[in-house]
Each structure stands twice: as C-alpha cells, then as structure tokens.
Symmetry: none
Subunit: 200 residues, 4 copies
DNA sequence: TATGAATGAGGATTCATTCAT
DNA sequence: GATGAATGAATCCTCATTCAT
C-alpha cells in the first residue's frame, strides 16, 4: 500500500508546491510586493498552513533562491554532457536566449532577486543571492579554464555580466529580441576565442 | 521685500529637497522598503507637508526618475564637450567606474529602479524607467553612429547592457573592483573599434 | 480663542486617555490578555491611531507603569502633609484598605503587573515594574527612619510585603475583608512600635 | 504479558510527564506566554498527542494546579510528623526560604498562577487557584488552633499573606535574600507567640 | 502653505484546536 | 493510542493617504 506513505508524501508535496510557487511568484511580483497569501494561493495551500513548512516569509524567499540554484545545477548538469567547453558555454547562452520571453517580462530570476535583496540592510539573504550568482560565475570560469584562455575568471564575469545586462535591458524595454541579438553576439564572441580570448 | 518671495522660494526649495532625497533614499532602500516618512525625514520636511508637493508616493518615484534623467543629461552635456565620440564613450565608461563604490553597494540607480518597477502590473512607472534607459541608449547610439560603425544601435545595447550587468554583479558580490576591471575591458573594446572617429 | 490650542490639547488629551485606559485595562485583564484594540476601545481612539502615540504595545505597558508610579507620587505627596511619620504610614495603610474592592477583584495594580512581567525573559519592563515597587519601599523606609526605628529598610520590606500579600490573598479569595482585617493588624503593629515619632 | 499493560503504563507516564512539564513551564513562563508546544516539548511528547490526554489548554493549567496542590499535600504530610504545631509552622517557613532562588526568579508557583488566572472573566480556573491557597490557609489555621492562639484563621491569613508578599517582592526585585530575612522575622514571630498570638 | 494628527486597509505571524491516518 | 499535518481566527504593527486647522 502506498497509503502509509501518503501523508509524508503529501507533506513533501506541499512543501514542493510552496517552493515552486514562491520561486515563480516572487520572480514575477518581486519580494516586497508579494504577500504570503499570494504564494499560498498560487500553491493552493491555506495561508495558516504555510507556516507549518516555512517559519517566516524570508524562509520562503530563501527556498525560492535554492530553487533557482537547483535549476542552475540541472542546467549545468545537462551542459556537462557536451564534450567541448566552448559548446557548453554556447549552449548556456542559448538557454538564456530561450528564456527571452520570461526575461523580457520579469528579468533574470536570480538577478532581479539579488537586486531587491541587496537593498536590505538586515538579514543575510542578499549574501545568499550573491552566492547563487557566484556559483554560475564559478562554473563559467571552469569552462573558460578548460578552454585554455587567460583570465578565465575575468571572462566569466564578462559573460555573466553580459547576461545580467541583456536581461535587465530586455526587461526594462520589454523587448525579448534584445536577448536574441545579444545572445548571437556572445555566441560569435565565444566562437572567436582562440586559446587566448578576445573581449566581445 | 524679499519676504513675499521667500515662501515660494522656500516652496521650490522644499520640492527640490524632496526630489533629491527621494532619488537617494529610493536608490538606497528600494521603492517598496522606503516609506514616505523616510523620504520626508531625509529631506527634513514634515510628513504631512509632502503631499502638498507630491500627491502620491508614485509621484515621488517619478520625481526620482526625473532626477536620474537629469543627471544623465548633465553627464552627456559635459561629455558633448569632447570632440571625439570615442572619447565621449570612454569618458562615459570612466564615469561609471568612478561610481563603483555606490554601484557596489546599491547598484545602478536607474537600473535597480527599473528592475523593481518592472515587477508591477499596474501604473506606468515601469515604462518611464525604461524611457530613461532608452535615452541613454539613444545617446550612446548617436556616438557610435558618429564613429561610423555599423549597427550603432546594437552596439549601444551591448555597451549599456555591459554597464547594467557589471553594476548588478558588483552589487550582488559587493565588489567594486568588478566595475574597474570590466570598465577597462570596455575601454579596450572601444579603442579596438575601427571607425571614422579616430585618425590613424 | 482656545481654538489654536485645541489640536495640541486634543493630542495630549488622547495620549492621556490612552495612558489612563491602558493603566486600567491592563490592570483588569492582565498584559497578555489585553489587546491593543481593548485599550483603544476603552480610550475611544481608533486602533490605527494608537500607534501615533505609542510605537509598540510595550510602550503602552510602560505608560501604564508610569501612571501607577505617578499615582504613588500623588499619594505620598498627600501623606507628606502629615507631620508624624507614623501617621503617614498609617494613612498609607488606610489608603490600601480603601482600595479593597478593586484589590479583591484585580489585585494591586503594580504588584500584579510585576508578577506578569517577571515571567518575561526579554525586554526590560520587568525591571521597571520592580523599580516602582522599590520607590514605594524607599518612601516607606524613609518614614521608618524618621520614626527612629532600627532596620528601617527591613521594616519597609515587611510592610510592603504585607500589602502585596494581603492584596494577593484578597484577590485570590475574592474577599475584600482580608484587606480590612490585615490593614487593622498593620495599624496596630505601627502603633506598637517604639520610636521618636510619638510622644509618650 | 506485560506487553498489554505497557501502552497504558506508557500512557500514564506521558500524562505524568505532561503534568510535571506543565507545572514547571507554566510557572516559569506564565499561562499566556506558554504555548502547548512549549509544554509538549518540555515533556517530550508530540504536540498532536497532548490532546489525547488533555482536551484543552485549560485542562493542562488545571493539571498544573493539581500538581502544586499535591506538592502542598506532600509538604504538609511531612510536616505532620513534627509533634509541635509551632515547629510545623516554622518548618513550613523554612521550606519557603529553601525555595528562595526559584521564588526570586519566578515567584510562588501557586501565587503567580492565581494572579494570572484572576484576570480572567471566564472559566473557573481562578476559583481553583484560590482553592489551593485556601487549603494552605486551612492547614496553617489548624496549626495555630492546635497552638491555642486566638483568631487562628486570622493568623493563618497573616502568615500566608506574608509568604505571598515576600515571594512577590523577592521576585520583583530579583533578590532571594528578601526571603531569608523575612523568613527569619516570621520564625521569630512564631517563637514569640504565647498561647495568645501577637502580630509580627 | 504648512503640519500634527487621524484613519483604515492590509500583512506577517502565532497558536489552540482538529483531523486523517 | 499516536501523530504529522491542517486550519483559521486573532493579534500586533505598518503605512499611504487624508483631514482639520
């Protein structure tokens, strides 16, 4: 019987639903404009019950951050199957471009979260948002290193910076095509790199 | 008598103080975390008096946006004195780098404002934030055009995008050096461009 | 015209009404069982407006404490008009007895407040409640000293202790007569004391 | 088999643990500031399970009250072994003094519970708290009667009153020495009693 | 114009109690 | 009997906005 597993399964399920809903709604509405009731509604969970799973709103923000971090892991996991680091980076850029419509409407989930959390003077969530970005930087840096370029970490900053910048502009101008065009430029840049890289 | 002028003068002064305070405090704390009382206090204006000058909080946000727009005008005005468009762009980049400490703490004023306002579904402030960024894009595009490069507007997007991206990363990682390094890279890139702007 | 004074007067008035209401309602219902709405209603002030005068619930508790402290001052002020310290102490006891019905229903305002606040592990209100009691102890000690008895402070503890004890018992047993009987016993005891205060 | 008994035994054990925990935690934190979860945790019983043993929170308060009542019985039971009623009363006072540190931190368990419950307008727990105190009064009165003093019940009120008062003061001032000094005074007073008592 | 005061609609959080296994 | 999970009513507190003078 799966019956005996059900309660716990349902509990885990609710936690999952709340996390997913939090990630989505916080991305769409921002942290401050999102009420717990919004998240609860999106997850189809009674408001009072949210606190069984998350003691504070900040813990939900934290969970959303972890969710984005997990998405990053899944993405880099898939990209790891590509043999050539250059192909991995190009596939990463392509993944960004594929998200152009969401980015044009709501920006990069992690980037916009970081922007909002960095306004805080209290708490440590800002640091955690930075940590997710740093993990992306590290992975990108590893690929550049595998490519044999000088200053792999500097190039990682350039690439991720370009991604955050184009997402912000696409969002501010509500124009997904910016993602497409800048993505193409980045792909060309990656193609042009010999062992020693050139700037875009 | 200057007495009769004083009230009006003081009125204009208050409006100005409120606008300046709004620009600064909204940048530092974000729109949602800033209360009218915060701005009133920073401007040394009684809370109840704010509404004489600004009918809603959004009007204050709007005023802050205009303030940033004015700053942009002043900057481009100064840059216009440089003869070479390439020098103008390089000076622009240098101006960004000069702001690195503020950027590392609070991000680009206009960019972070745009990120926050873009989360809204109501109002039109998001559009206005985009408009400020578009004016920067236009000005940069004009310089690239003067330089004689192909796809001047596309390059403008690349440059402004890089600025927003490096500001966001510097902010998220609390590292002003990112601004310095990426700024240097952008300067190199501008130097490497073939164009009418510089004699051989 | 008193019109121009009115606003401030009304403001001060409201603060006063809130303080008085807080002192009474907190005494009657206890700190934890009293909601801000209870106090607001008793003072006939809209709930949201309470926060204009008191930033937190604890500040209202604090105000209630000050109110009791003021009552104590007023009482000792009146007693100071009596020439003989023994008479002062006896009048103090009489004042306690006069409050027997309130004490039988709700206990000593300061004592019960202290009991409740002493359960807290946070904040400093418990200390302040103790301070009010200590001021009573000090005043009583001064009278005993004036009477020329040995160990005036120890006797003060005994007297105040007796007051707190009889109030607690009267309250727990809902029997005001306990106040009357113990009050009489205390008066006898004061009379029996040898001291400089009374000629033979 | 003891197997079939075990569950019940365990059940009784849990009930006991809950009662003991309730008595302690309610004394330390007060009724209103103590959550069922606090008690459950202190008793190492799952929250949801508490309701198998106690239908409401008030029943737990009631159980705590009974616990204190039982402690009183145990104490008077031990004191009954002393032949002289005066010695019994002096031993009672000594028992109070022995608890001085707890009293200085949390007050008399029954007294502070009574103070808190007396603020209620509903329920009957306030009466029950009074009943425990009355049983103490009755026992003390019996001892005074055995001593042959006039107005034994009045003297009982005086003695118990002194105990409650000194506990409250020790608690409010966080000073256990108050218990020691007042205890000594009470012992002297008991010693000084002839058949017909004198007030302290 | 200026300003202290007022207002009420939320919003996060807590918790006793109940319920489904 | 046992227990994790669920529920919703309450409560404190915030704040944009309005008002009276």
């Amino acid at each position: 019987m799966t019956d005996s597993v059900k309660p716990r399964a349902r509990g885990a399920d609710k936690r999952r639903r709340l996390t997913t809903a939090a990630a989505r709604v916080l991305h769409e509405q921002g942290v401050e404009r999102t009420t717990l009731a919004d998240i609860a509604r999106a997850a189809d969970v009674p408001v009072g019950n949210v606190y069984y799973y998350f003691k504070t709103k900040d813990e939900l923000v934290q969970a959303a951050l972890s969710e984005h971090s997990t998405h990053l892991d899944e993405l880099t996991g898939r990209l790891a199957e590509l043999a050539d680091p250059r192909d991995r980076l190009k596939a990463l850029v392509q993944a960004w471009v594929d998200q152009r419509d969401v980015a044009a409407r709501y920006g990069c989930p992690t980037g916009t979260l970081a922007v909002e959390l960095d306004k805080r003077t209290d708490g440590s969530l800002d640091v955690e948002a930075g940590a997710v970005i740093r993990r992306l930087l590290d992975w990108v840096g590893d690929q550049f290193r595998a490519l044999g370029v000088d200053d792999a970490d500097g190039m990682a900053v350039t690439l991720v910076s370009a991604y955050q910048g184009m997402s912000l502009l696409a969002n501010a101008l509500r124009d997904p095509d910016i993602m497409t065009r800048e993505g193409a430029r980045l792909a060309d840049w990656l193609d042009s790199l010999q062992g020693a890289g050139r700037t875009p």
